[in-house]
Amino acid sequence: MYLEIKNINKKFENFSLNNVSFELEKGDYYIILGVSGSGKSVLMEIISGLINVDSGSIILDGKDITNEKIQKRDIGILFQDFAVFPHMTVRENIAYPLKLRKINKSEINDKVLFLSTELGINHLLDKNVGLLSGGEAQRVALARTLAISPKILLLDEPLSALDIVLRNELRSLLRNLNRNGQTIIHVTHDYEEAVSLANEVAIIQKGEIIQSGKPKIVFQNPKSEFVANFSGIQNFFKAKIYYDEKDAIKKATLENGFEIAISCNEVDCEGNIIVRSENILISEERIDSSAINNFKGLIIDVFPTALGVEIIVDVGVEFYVTVTKSSSRKLDLIQGKEIWISFKATSVQFIS
């Protein structure tokens, strides 16, 4: 393993990181996904050496760097607010780490030119950084970090301060960097970012990594409601699976006793079930179809989303249902209306 984070613990006054462990290979794009205050930024600062750990160890490229000086770790960190030096020009910013390494002037000039060209900011070299746009400042910060040829590049919410166009540009830049072999750890609260960039992902909640692995596997098999919500799955329930002999079908009993027909291999076990909101049908009357799960309920909320309209229906438990705007208009789906929802037993996914 290229980087091994083993049982990191760090206690603060109101917050703690508990037994954080993960590992990654050289060339990985590792994303740590979590909401604000989950400890992801602290974890970045611990890896970079800005914060010391209470216990645990960090092994980079076979070397224990847990107590190594920050200056000697060869780890670059890029912050959300760019942190470019405001009293220096773009050139001086990029050259800063090179000057510290006492590299000769012509080599510094060559490297500054190379990095600024790579990142498309060579026309800005003599500009004061105060005059740069957010995207430009981010590229300057990135060029400055890359100047030290870091073994690992740590990115702390690098895209969140940028508008959508710049975000896409920088995303593709980061992807290219990774393709060229740069190992990256990137923390974010944005699921889209994780899906589009990561080849490994970890979900952090209240200072603990609660699930990690390949993004597709993690998001298709969320082990908790928190992880499910990240990937936009709202219909996530804890359930016990049993075989109902009377109906000759397996059923999932939710915590409040509500029962849902399910098609799965497991039986007599506990786990979680998910029903994707786009797989649920809404009708004004009960419909005859292949769907076994049919429930009558009350619409308790309706709100527009990027894809259409999201309806929350209370049928004994709350289900989120996504419909198109035209369906919503056609069925006159408003708060307080009684409707039927239906979904197939095969649409219910069990996660042990």
Binding site: L50, G76, H87, Y96, P97, R101, A141
Partner: protein, 262 residues
């Protein structure tokens, strides 16, 4: 809207009174002093020496205490530790005590009986009445202006910039000299100017540790006591003029630097 304008009028009126209160006596000082009197006073070597002494002793105090005071300000701005507030309180003490009392305290500190006095004595310097004593008295009453301004300056430098510099390979000292100090410089220069100004205008503490050689504020007091207002006024006018000239010059110089940086 009507009410708003009335309120502005009141603000302008009150503000004008304050400005008048500051400007009028100074203007009176210049208007009541003839050019002949000024000319005669400038010709006096005693006056010229006194003004020069005042300038360089205050400069010495400012430079000397900048070297030891700025690192303290950096430490206080960037580190949270037990007794930090106590230390901040101690720094403000010279501002709140009577300056004559400060002079008495410093006199005890530099007299021949004290450790510092004896050390100076061993190299042939009697601190009492020495320009070094004047500088020390000036520094005592004016150093809070420098330290507080520098603390504000260092506090305004985002920790993140310092952290990034460290991650890029800068040692703590490099971070201080290449990031923190340049970014806090504007506040520090303001503090230096304020300290220098406050040192030059000090009377109470200095008159106790060194009546002679005479700094200009002491000379103004001495001439006023011995010969009256008309004899003291030309010295006062010349000194005020020089003070204003220095401070306007320094302010403009620092402003120019800030403009050229942007």
């Amino acid at each position: 809207m009507q009410k708003f304008q009335k309120f502005h009028l009141i603000l302008i009126l009150l503000g004008s009174l304050v400005l008048l209160f500051i400007i009028a006596p100074l203007l009176g000082l210049f208007l009541n002093t003839s050019s002949a009197e000024i000319f005669e006073t400038v010709k006096e070597k005693e006056v010229r020496d006194s003004i020069w002494l005042t300038i360089w002793t205050s400069m010495l105090a400012t430079v000397g205490f900048a070297i030891i005071g700025i690192p303290l300000a950096y430490f206080l701005a960037k580190r949270k530790f037990l007794f930090r507030r106590l230390i901040l309180g101690i720094i403000d003490i010279p501002v709140v005590i009577p300056h004559s009392a400060a002079g008495i305290a410093i006199l005890g500190f530099i007299s021949r009986d004290s450790a510092l006095g004896q050390m100076a004595e061993s190299v042939g310097i009697n601190l009492v009445g020495h320009p070094i004593a004047i500088s020390l008295a000036m520094a005592f009453v004016s150093v809070p202006f420098l330290i507080n301004a520098a603390i504000d300056g260092f506090s305004s430098v985002p920790d993140r910039l310092e952290k990034v510099a460290m991650s890029l390979g800068a040692s703590s000292a490099k971070v201080f000299f290449t990031i923190s100090l340049p970014l806090a410089w504007r506040n520090i220069v303001s503090g230096l100017i304020m300290m220098f100004a406050r040192g030059m205008s000090e009377f109470g503490a200095v008159v106790i540790v060194a009546y002679h050689p005479m700094i200009t504020p002491v000379m103004i007091f001495e001439r006023f006591g011995a010969y009256g207002l008309s004899y003291a006024r030309p010295v006062a006018a010349i000194f005020v003029f020089i003070c204003l000239l220095i401070f306007i010059g320094l302010r403009m110089l620092t402003k120019e630097k800030n403009v050229s940086r942007n």
